[in-house]
Symmetry: C2
């Protein structure tokens, strides 16, 4: 069952190209055009079967029924505002950015049919070359409508993500950013800081524990500095909460207090078990 006819995806990176591939495979859209700042990326996405054609310019959006903004967070608003006058009436626009507050508030004003989406399917890997056809399956997709969002369009977008196998969670853009600051942006800030403090000469002696704990610091530093800045206040308070926890662990260690220390680790350990 096709949900949309002509679809344009701006940004043919890991998420954009995986989404194109999945939409085509499930026949949820009838034709996919991909646009990328670097045309070779879009050509690569076409080669992988993620898009049907490589778009030439932003003018391609003019007859799109579904427009997906899949560029890094810092350019989503700019691009949306640029294309807002060029899309046809009724075109549904979604993004897949990692923060939602600023994006949803800025774009909704210009494009009433805009719905913010955030599939929690990102990875430290990038580009169409890492395309994963099943990346949305059994994964969470957060959708952040506003009070003004058209209910019919919302249902259609919810259905789209469900058809891709995602579990849809509806949150306000503000709730999304508060939650993601804890569950995604803080772990990234911690992983980058941990990696940053390991002396170079010890890298060859690392074990799997260090590798896993710092895996996400292999993510794109430019993309992540934008994500951090676009959710600055929430992330700052999460960092403070983390600093307090670490300070308590340090105190237990300073005091050489086995019971105190053990209780801290037991609490974290029980929570980790629930994470699965």
């Amino acid at each position: 069952m096709s949900l949309f006819n002509k679809t344009v995806i701006i940004g043919t990176g890991l998420i954009g190209s995986s989404l194109g591939f999945a939409l085509k495979k499930k026949r949820l859209v009838s034709q996919v055009t991909g646009l990328s700042r670097h045309r070779k990326n879009a050509r690569l996405a076409k080669g992988c079967g993620a898009i049907d054609r490589v778009g030439k310019s932003l003018g391609e959006v003019k007859d799109a029924d579904l427009l997906v903004l899949a560029t890094p967070v810092n350019s989503i608003i700019d691009i949306a505002l640029k294309v807002s006058k060029r899309i046809k009436k009724g075109c549904v626009v979604i993004d897949v950015g990692s923060t939602k507050g600023k994006i949803v508030s800025a774009i909704s004003r210009a494009i009433p049919n805009f719905i913010g989406c955030h599939p929690l399917s990102g990875s430290e890997k990038r580009g169409a070359v890492n395309l994963q056809p099943e990346i949305f399956k059994d994964s969470i997709c957060i959708i952040t409508p506003t009070v003004k969002t058209d209910k019919k369009i919302l249902s259609k977008i919810v259905l789209l993500w469900r058809k891709l196998g995602s579990r849809v969670v509806i949150l306000s853009p503000e709730e999304h950013d508060q939650i993601l600051a804890f569950t995604s942006h803080l772990p990234h800030a911690v992983a980058f800081s941990l990696m940053g403090c390991i002396p170079d000469e010890l890298l060859s002696l690392s074990s799997r524990g260090l590798k896993d704990t710092t895996r996400i610091s292999a993510a794109d530093p430019n993309l992540w500095s934008e994500v951090f800045l676009s959710n600055r206040r929430n992330l700052l308070s999460c960092i403070s909460a983390f600093q307090e926890k670490l300070a308590v662990l340090k105190l237990a260690l300073k005091r050489n207090d086995k019971m105190f220390l053990s209780n801290i680790l037991v609490e974290a350990n029980k929570k980790r078990e629930r994470l699965g």
Copy 2:
């Protein structure tokens, strides 16, 4: 080629039983007896083919040619001192504990043929039930001799780990503890603190990033509080180094300084690439 005849392994958990299995499979020892505080663990290890027989008491060590201490770090010294009068002359004793300073200094005095070992093959999983036959293959094993260590015995133990597929690195016990504080104990302290600060109600919205970053907080809290305490001073200075890095990242965020923030992430990212 058999390196030792009768072998006794005290502690048939993940490492003890995996080691028994690997030694038997490679025919590096002729007979393996396993001892555990809980006899059902040792029976399980026997069931998995990790040991040939379940030992009844510490008295079993009396005719061992190789004695492996594979219990949690806090009991290694106690057990070593208990058996030191019962082992025969020439019995080679090794441990597989995660810290080395205190262990090597305490045990070497009582058992001249003791060599501290630390295979970097641990996991958050525990018990013979998680036995991994290939756990030592392509993994690092740190061996920490002292100036008094017999060179022939050291060569034999180096050979034993190499035959199991490990890359052997020789360090002093003090170097070992300084390095491991950074590469293993700090990541654990960070992972436990990160997990500890995530609000319970958000656990169901976590993505793979949080899961990977906190994976090692699924490790045994009792075992890890002992590891932390046995390497307290080194870990405290590593935590301070990490706190400084995180404070700098927070400052960049507070200042809303894209270039400053980006430089911090780029530095960590480059280091992570070298980690592989």
